[in-house]
């Protein structure tokens, strides 16, 4: 009975599949295991990187993302920073 209920709730409420949670958590976990960087450290790094970028351009902080990704034989730092506008043309921050 339980099985059927779960199935129906999936169909009608479009509940997410738990295996996707497992996969996403694993991918992040394995990267952190490998580079030995805690989520807190990664967040601090993201803060610093965006602070530097903000000296030059105005960015959409809400949609800024910094993450580590595992490829074939390497780990890459992937950063996506939507730029709103350049702060001042030609200006060099101190």
């Amino acid at each position: 009975m339980n099985e059927m209920k779960q199935l129906l709730s999936r169909i009608f409420r479009n509940a997410p599949q738990s295996k996707e949670d497992a996969k996403q958590r694993l991918k992040i976990l394995l990267i952190h295991d490998q580079v030995d960087l805690t989520p807190a450290q990664l967040e601090a790094m993201q803060e610093e990187i965006t602070a530097v970028i903000q000296k030059y351009v105005e960015i959409d902080r809400e949609n800024t993302e910094v993450r580590l990704e595992r490829g074939e034989n390497r780990i890459a730092l992937i950063s996506s920073v939507p730029v709103r506008r350049v702060i001042e043309r030609g200006a060099v921050p101190a």
């Binding site: 009975m1 599949q17 738990s18 958590r25 976990l29 394995l30």
Partner: protein
């Protein structure tokens, strides 16, 4: 040509010992001579899974310390030609054996048998190092769970660091119905994350517990789908890499589910 294969996982409780026992049986049923070695010193269990616990006189540590000859410690499985168990010591700890002694022991076994299968203890400490040191290659056992896959990834790195060739993977306790409804990672998900070749999959099934209760590995059972899964893995290990994977999805249909509701279908099939 003789080969030593270590069965390892990192995490405990994923089925290393059951896998070792069943692959030993599967290879022996094909006509090979096999020694299964319990490297889990202090927590031996391979003897129990094989149902040979009452026949132990000497163990691996006795052999290494020269208290008996290798042949005296090897227990012959009378159910199949060519299968022998070298049990672990139960009253000693992992430090009773050094990697050098283990390598020497494996060399002696390889001179006598086609296959030497080593049941590795859980963890990444001395016991793991002892189990891996004499091996020619490794088979990693995992289950479709976050914790088991995480540890498997760690162990793959350590196997490579030990300069063994790329290990192969057994996915244990696979539940087709959970996979079908998206509540369990499927074969492709796991292979994408661990990125090593698949050796085979074993379904989660009541028969495993029943066979452990009786001390008769399920690979001896011709009619069992789990036994067949292990026998196929055995064939792939013995040089038939293209033996097809079984389809475990039987019995998951609505009709079967309905029959189970009304009591027409015993719940004795692949677990959901």
């Amino acid at each position: 040509m003789s080969e030593c294969i270590v069965i390892t996982s990192g995490k405990g409780g994923v089925g290393k010992t059951t896998t070792t026992a069943n692959l030993g049986v599967a290879l022996a049923l094909q006509g090979a001579t096999v020694a299964v070695v319990d490297a889990d010193i202090g927590l031996r269990n391979l003897d129990v899974i094989l149902g040979l616990e009452n026949r132990i006189v000497y163990d691996l540590v006795h052999v290494i310390e020269g208290e008996c000859r290798l042949k005296q410690a090897l227990i012959r499985d009378k159910r199949v030609e060519g299968l022998f168990l070298l049990p672990a010591a139960q009253t000693r700890d992992k430090n009773a054996v050094t990697p050098g002694q283990m390598r020497e022991l494996v060399q002696k076994l390889k001179a006598e048998f086609d296959y030497v299968l080593i049941d590795c203890p859980a963890g990444i400490e001395q016991g793991f190092k002892n189990a891996v040191t004499g091996a020619d290659r490794a088979v990693i056992v995992t289950t479709p769970e976050v914790s088991a896959i995480r540890d498997a990834d760690r162990i793959i790195g350590m196997v490579e660091a030990a300069e063994l060739p790329e290990p192969t993977l057994i996915i244990n306790r696979y539940r087709s119905k959970m996979v079908q409804r998206g509540d369990m990672m499927n074969k492709e998900d796991i292979l994408e994350i661990l990125a090593i070749p698949l050796l085979g999959m074993v379904p989660d099934h009541e028969e495993i517990i029943i066979s452990a209760n009786r001390g008769i590995p399920v690979s001896f059972n011709d009619e069992s789908i789990v036994g067949e899964a292990y026998r196929r893995i055995g064939r792939r290990m013995a040089g038939e890499p293209d033996v097809p994977e079984l389809d475990f999805s039987d019995g998951g249909g609505l009709w079967t589910t309905f029959k189970r509701w009304v009591g027409l279908q015993p719940a004795q099939e692949v677990a959901s």
